[in-house]
Symmetry: D3
Subunit: 305 residues, 6 copies
């Protein structure tokens, strides 16, 4: 049995060994982004999207104090976000061997990305409003918009995806993925920030939903728990896909995909208004308006499992 000191020495040796293909530690001379700070970013954004629902109360504030509060929250968001975006950019530049003296660029880039992202918050808020409406209209059990905001994991995951997608398009690295992964943890809904999703998107219940990086989804689409929009498998160890190639399906406007359905492949297009049945397995395109049945069962006397 190793002694505690041997364990310490072994670990330190591992931490300090020359970079390998699997660097599990970061003991270099700068900081990595922080999961906890990314969680704060998410809550700060949500506090600006849903004031009164998320974050400290803003009830009964006079107009003037409301102005103070909103500016405070924007400042806080800017600072938290800028630091994390900086760290991710700096880490990326370092990982790619960029020289130290370009470091100032990362700080400037981070400030620009952050400012542009914050500039888009009002339009992102409008987009999320559409998603809320879609959820309220799409679920007959919803008792009001308040229940939708408080209790619908789909709305949580989609709104974070909206933020992460916008941040990603402005040029941020790693942080958007950390944001959507946090939503995945909380909701079981895994939306890659690279996916492109239209207006009024609704996911009900949502546990187990996976939406891949190069998906394209139109307006007014509804999907249910356990739906996968994935890639066809690639041989183990194949080379990285070319940037720009589409590996995940296209879902056109007004499509409904029921629970447990799986739709795979970059050439697969689900046409406008199609309905995909529960547990369906789809690897080829479906014309507009079609209905694809799910995998039904029959009654028999065999042992059910």
């Amino acid at each position: 049995m190793k002694s505690a000191d041997e364990v310490a020495d072994n670990l330190i040796e591992g931490y300090l060994s020359p970079p390998t293909d699997t660097p599990m530690q970061h003991v270099g001379n700068y900081e990595l982004p922080s999961r906890e700070e990314v969680s704060r970013i998410v809550e700060q954004c949500r506090g600006l999207l849903f004031p009164g629902y998320v974050g400290p109360s803003v009830a009964r504030l006079p107009r003037a104090e409301l102005g103070i509060v909103v500016r405070e929250r924007l400042d806080e968001l800017r600072n938290t976000l800028r630091r994390q975006v900086y760290r991710a950019l700096h880490h990326k530049a370092q990982s790619m061997g960029n020289v130290e003296d370009h470091c100032g660029d990362c700080a400037e880039d981070a400030a620009d990305i952050t400012a542009r992202f914050i500039g888009r918050l009002p339009e992102l808020r409008d987009l999320v409003a559409g998603d809320l409406r879609a959820a309220y209209v799409g679920d007959p059990a919803a008792s009001g918009i308040d229940e939708v905001i408080f209790c619908y994991p789909g709305v949580y995951a989609i709104s974070i995806y909206r933020l992460a997608h916008a941040l990603s398009r402005e040029g941020a690295a790693l942080i958007p993925r950390m944001m959507t992964e946090q939503a995945h943890e909380r909701t079981g809904i895994d939306i890659h920030p690279g996916a492109r999703i239209g207006q009024q998107f609704f996911i009900d219940h949502g546990t187990g939903v996976v939406i891949g990086e190069t998906c394209r989804i139109g307006d007014h689409v509804r999907i249910y728990q356990g739906v996968t929009l994935g890639a066809l498998s690639v041989p183990y160890g194949a080379e990285r896909p070319r940037a720009g190639s589409q590996r995940h399906p296209t879902i056109e406007d007004d499509v409904v995909i029921y629970a447990g359905a799986t739709i795979l492949g970059g050439d697969t297009v689900i046409g406008k208004g199609a309905v995909i049945g529960g547990n369906a397995w789809v690897t080829a395109s479906v014309p507009p308006g079609a209905k694809i049945a799910g995998a039904h069962s029959r009654r028999d006397t065999s042992n059910g499992s």
Copy 2:
């Protein structure tokens, strides 16, 4: 690019604009319920159901101090719960245009609902004891009741459902849904507080389980991960369902439903003692004692995905 000040002004304008059909903010003159406080309610209830397992230790307390501790916990629960129930009722009354001067009623109603709910805690504890037994008996891998309480997400989700359902029946709004949604987040098991579930209910593993608002489930039922007990789809934008209509299935006593099965529709009845196979898709009633096979696969040479 919008400046920070423009963003602030845009956001505030949005917050203060006259009520629309999608009110995403709450800047009115009262507080909404709080997710964090609802989490505290859940932990306070669980601390009373499972003392020594949940919440501060009660080991080695003399009898007299135990009496003090239990009364403290009941007081804390009453206060936390009453405040949140009040906020939800008040918000509901306000949303429906009820006049200000009826506000005192909300406070009184909240106090009454809370007192009745707390009065039911001993019987709820007995009910949960039955669920624990069902889990221990139902899973051969369970090493003891302690493991069941600490490690079984199904037990967590069911016990919170039991609490939320009772609270809902006493007249609380919104809070019960927030409670079960919290269990959903933690376990991936989504049980609507409106469902009616008999004794000794067991869910194993549980990720992806969905149990809809108007389900009726008998005694001694066992279900596994990924099972949906849902509604048949309704046309997009259909009117709200009538209160009282049953949209989700009825599961009679002693039924077992294996992983991934989907059972839909308010007229669907799974008869006493039936067994539903894994991944089965069921939209019609099944007689008592029947066995429904799941969707089996066959060996072939085609590409598997």
Copy 3:
């Protein structure tokens, strides 16, 4: 309606009633393990596996201070772990009626188990490094090892399984299960610490994955979300399975299992290099290299759900 005092008295009576078959409370004369402390153990271990990624920054530390920090973290882990392992052993001994005066043994056993576990940390770290490589190689969307560590729930769940499995083999009770259940909560991936899993294991997305207690999994295996490796059902209330009997399947090296597939039974062996299609349902062995198709759907005009 019961008064608050009646509720308190009813609850206390329940807490103090003689042990039944469902002891929901622990008011005895020692402490149970604590969920919160088990969470700390998990984070402390991860901080040692992934310094710089998890836990307080170690960036820019001089070599001498790094040595101090690592020893500190090992001390903290040893203390937290030893206490929880002790509590679980002591509780188990008490539950089995072991006499009080053997209590010292639990403390000694806990110290030994903890020391041996910590002695294995360097090799566990190597094992986890293999899993990281498998994830990076297995997912073309992964932008780097940093994204894999921060954003891949499969890596999170597998690394905690690695720790829990090792701890379990050293003789710890209950704590390993609490560790993997915590990973289950966060990721939706439920791996029993008793399972035996080879090198370079990869789970993608992962929500809904269940891997049972007696599974044996070879090297280089890849599985996707919603996969169950389970037991065939046993009659309700059957006696506990014999220790040592295998109830869950064997998965040989290089197997790939796509999303939603279910593989059941202790005699089921998936041969080396086989591929199991999405949503497949497998209850019998599959020869090496075989491809098992999933449950595909067909286009029809019936109502999709």
Copy 4:
């Protein structure tokens, strides 16, 4: 040098050795009061005396919610206080060798003491209002009652004394002393809870003030920083003073005592309206209306220190 294990063993041996005249540890079978909880009691009381100034905001609450909030705060205070009063009584009973089976009395006594104390809160609030007025009137630099509440350490220390004195008179042990000692820490003003102090008492600045256990102070008294109202010295190791004997001075109505003055002895009476000069040293009675000069200095050429 002792090894860590020797240190541990030495310490444990000390902890477990039979009771001596200096028991520095408490490893018995019940809990002692907690400094942290006593701090909470102080803040809870102050939140009820000064709502809006101390504790969570109560601004803009509708009347009905204010009623809820006040009842919550009273419940919280009752619970925190009852527990600490119980612990102190129980400890005292145990220390005096009272038998175990009287333990229920402590719990009952604690509940009674707590209830009576809470019953006196409204009158205590009136008393404190008088002290506030005295501070505002007594210090020309005070800009308003708000500054007095926020910034006057004398007001802080006196209001805690008022609470502690009342609690002491209802029969609580040790807790009142812990309360005034907390005020001492924060303000440098050390008032024993046993002192009897009339209305509209004012202490300015206050650092270094000491007011002994058997002092009697009339109405409208003002004192400044560094004033001692103490006992004449007793021979080292003299026996405990008889309960009821007065060891500290009597200060009649309307007296003013300037900074640094020292007044000693149980037979010393400072008559109504007297003025005691700065740094004065007084060990004999002073008639009503007298002015006692402080210790003045003269100009000289010697080294000043």
Copy 5:
């Protein structure tokens, strides 16, 4: 004995009764400043004055990240400070009966005051540097500037006075007093923010020091624990002093005042380079360069106390 409900009703009645001359509650429609937030302001300022000594580490930051960090801290300070300054101004305006619609001015004024204060931080930092030098030079026991920053309460109290005085001169109400009172709590040194104090001021040990509102203190002054620079007493209940009248002494450059000395009165001037002995009592002016002996004792046989 009052019941809990009676107590609640009594308290609420008191809270809601029409404004009296002693308003101990604030249940109006806006928030008061918060002690906790004022503490944050103090720490935020100190973090900017003494980076690396106070607040999160800035060691080993690259230049670019240091720029980010400093801007973050300035933003945080601006937000925290602006909000508290606003609340104090708004409260003051409301207390003086100013009409609601002027409220916007408070927000604007608070923003202006905050911006001007922050603009002065670099010069305040230079001023504090002088005080540090004075402490290091003035105390032969100081081992270095680091010990002075970490361990000298005089430096703590003076630097907070410097900040509070500047903030007060920019027009902030109440907050400066709350800042210096916090320093008083921690150090026992009570400096009114209105006092005017020159460069390189040093207070050693400091417990019990009081420096009144209208004091004027020159450069290079040193004072020791227990020194009072106060006002001559005013008849009880006298009218508020005229703004602008000087009630506290003037201390010219290079004066030293030893422990326990008391100097009173607005007409009292301690001339340049004078030395005031320990425990001295001074109520008249002292010429430049004079030495005033303290109150010395003589040996005798009387009982010493």
Copy 6:
């Protein structure tokens, strides 16, 4: 008015300017000690001296678990202390220009100092037990040792001095001073860790007490609030005193010093058993057994202040 950006640039420029004689920032490549961590050290030590009184409860622990708990606390103390001692030594070495490659020595020295200090904890505990006895015997108002531990600031300050003095003698820099300064903040009692103090030392009330670096105090000494044991003044800007020269008085066994007395000078010896009256001013030696009267006042008609 400077803009925020100008302020930031000014501050950064100041932070990065070459070292001056007043380095107010630490932006170098290592960390300084932390006030917060020093507070933890103090509480960790006190938890080992006074288990059950300070820190988490140890009531009702079985013997075996008590062993675990004590070892845990010693480990925690060792780690926290070693890190802070290291930082202070490293900082000192760097400040004195020691070269980087000696850095390993600091880590080793810190480990040695810490181990030796911990080895002395049992004897320090005995020393503190004597101080407790002295307090209980010395104050007739003390109701028991429990009140002495909970409520006597003198005991708090002396026990921290005992720890800090021992740590200082083992070779730690700066940390001992930070420890006693923390006690100063809380109690108003300022004891330099360099002072040498005999057994059974008692300080009553204590606010304003100052005990200088080179004091020597015998056994069984009692002192009261406001007592200064200081140095005679030195000309402003005099050179640092020689190490080893005694600047503060010697107090022999059994001396009593009443409130407000001031004793100055390294040649001043207060002989065994002497009594120094309140407010006395002593700058020359006093023979054994002498009684020195304080500064008494007389009645007169002059204005008292």
